[in-house]
Amino acid sequence: MIAEAGLAALWLAASLALLQLALAAIGLAGGKSELLGAVRPVAVAQGVLTAIAFALLITLFLRSDMSVLLVATNSHSMKPWLYKFAGTWGNHEGSMLLWVTVMGVAGAAVALFERALRRETHMATLGGQAAISLGFYAFLLFASNPFARIDPPPADGQGLNPLLQDPGLAFHPPTLYLGYVGLSVAFSFAVGALLTRQVDAAFARAMRPWVLGAWILLTLGITAGSYWAYYELGWGGWWFWDPVENASLMPWLAATALLHSVTVLATRDALRAWTVMLAVIAFSMSMVGTFLVRSGILTSVHAFAVDPQRGTFILALLGIYIGGALALFGWRVGAVREGAPFELVSRETMLVVNNLLLSVILGLVLIGTLYPLMTEAFGHKVSVGAPYFDRIAGPIALTLMIVMILGPLTRWRRDRMREVTRRIAVPLAVGTIVLVSLAILAWGTIGILPFLGLVIALAVAVGSVAPLWKRNLRRTPLFTWGMVIAHLGCAVSLAGMACDSAFTVEKLVAARPGDVVETAGWTLRFKQILPVAGDNWTALQADMEASRGGGEPVLMHPQSRFFASPPTTTTEAALLTRWNGQLYVVLGQEADAGRWQLRIWWKPFVTLIWFGGFLIALGGAMALIGRERRGWLLKWRARKAEEAFA
């Protein structure tokens, strides 16, 4: 019964989305404004129904109802409850339902809480949101019904890929999805504003919290995904340039550009057309990402759902939405009036350069990701790998960091070159001194890119706190603090990446229990190998004692785990985190009688990479709270003033 109820809720929600679109379209185009009043309640009801459908699917997974095809193929009655829960979205149909649910709930939130938009734009936005949802409803109901039954039901399910049975990965996809879908709201805002010809600062102020929110979640999702790949796959790296990883990086790059341009539009009323364009691009990149991951059209080590027919469906949706939005943009861009002018030396220009550089990286990553697809159409099988991406992304990202130092030190509207030079003199001098002393110290020991990375990281760190110089820190708005923290986060991440590639020490040995391995100042005593068992796995576990400089030994337990359903072996690395780095131990296979392969890394300051990602997201959250709080304060003051006059 639960499955049927879920399907019914989904059909109802889809019909409401159709109604929502019709009400908004007829209300706006036919001038029947009395219809517009019904749009908001319909949007709220639609959101509630999708949430119900999703909750019912979760219930089916938690109860291990094997008569439902999706549960039978992706879950197992012996699985720990957390992974039954997370298994709901660890598959194609479930993740698509999660997508629609987040869209529905976000639509309801826009209907309920959005106050800054003009009424017509608000209604057009809700209509746009319904139009996007409709495509995904159709996709779910006609091509990938999550509630389909299987007869006869199997006794036990096939289980979830063990690599996904990790707390990190249980919450990584929903975080990314929330980000993707947040960008769909920005997209709907842009479509709404184009339809009602109201692209201005007020529109940007209404859109900004959504962009910020989506961007924060994308940042967190990417950071978590990178850390998951680092510790769960046992390879010790943090980025692989895989199409699936690029699928989340591309929307992030677009959202970062959008975040900066929407700030220009909100505070200075410039870059109107560009901001709208970026909102379209950012959501398009979410869709391209979904298409890449879900179609299995590209080689990826972790494209899980491979189904060309579904790929075609998403490709069609992609064509309709992006094509439609671009056509609307081309048709209405003439109606977007020119914004406020600014001089060439100004913060606006810096942000334009920032946008250009981000767009260039985005374009190059997109080309690299899709290039194999294009050549394959001509019969060539080509794979574009890390060397291509490193070569293009490295230099542009380092240039971007320099713009990041200059931007916040430049004034809005107009500034003088001499003034700017005077302001950057301190970071510049510090940077030069550090550069020279580092160069003398590190000469010949580390590569040129890690070296440049460290220097630029330091310069960015100094440059990002420079806007606080000579300011009253207590009275500095939270928004400015957010920018400072987020930029500092970039410096921290960059420093972590540079340290990892410059100073990592690796040791690979075949050792017997009882052996002692020395590396990078650490002493590892290999005590024994034991079989251990967990909820739904068995493992071989190495017991090791790690100590440094005669300090207290710490126990480490790298494992090689075996899962029975589906039959898979996974590597569980053991990590020991210290303030100055991480010790990373992987247990390999039995080399010969009695000897076991061990791979040991000492990675100085590697954790800075993810700490930086966290700081970036924190900065975003501070900016979001700062803006919202100011809005509440202003409203509160206005009400007080009204009361005083009354």
Binding site: S383, I392, V509, A510, G588
Partner: protein, 148 residues
């Protein structure tokens, strides 16, 4: 400065950035397009020693040998038309085995051995690198054959 001039300058800057990016992509792609090689590509086109590439093929049955140090392995990679020797120092992915597909990242040494720095891990049994699709290892003849 007039708004018109300003827009013109911005457009020119954007154009220059675009062209530069395009050139960068084209040059990087030209180098990296020849990134994936099968043993037969290596034989016919030749790869200079030290150039980072991906080598894909099947691990020849009976070719896998472990070195004394316990962490180095030697094996042959074939695509049915040619075979190249390869070696790898490290922990092999769980699904790396004889008669199965492999994609190895690394470079050739002067003596013609492929020195792999990374063997691409597969996430599950069914996964086959796209570049190797249509290839299968024949258990009986120990040779490559096209998938029926």
């Amino acid at each position: 400065m007039k708004a018109k001039h300003q827009r013109l300058i911005l457009a020119v800057v954007a154009l220059v950035a675009l062209v530069a990016a395009g050139l960068l992509a084209a040059s990087a792609l030209k180098d990296e397009a020849a990134y994936f090689y099968t043993p037969n590509d290596v034989k016919t086109k030749g790869v200079e020693p030290g150039k980072a590439i991906r080598l894909g093929g099947m691990v020849v049955k009976g070719s896998l040998k472990k070195a004394q140090d316990g962490v180095t392995i030697h094996f042959d990679v074939t695509d049915g038309k040619a075979t190249v020797p390869a070696s790898f120092k490290g922990i092999t992915p769980d699904l790396f085995r004889e008669g199965s597909g492999v994609v190895a990242e690394g470079a050739f040494e002067r003596n013609g051995t492929f020195q792999a720095t990374n063997l691409l891990a597969k996430h599950d049994e069914r996964y086959m690198p796209r570049e190797l699709q249509g290839m299968q290892y024949d258990e009986k003849t120990h040779k490559m054959k096209a998938e029926q």
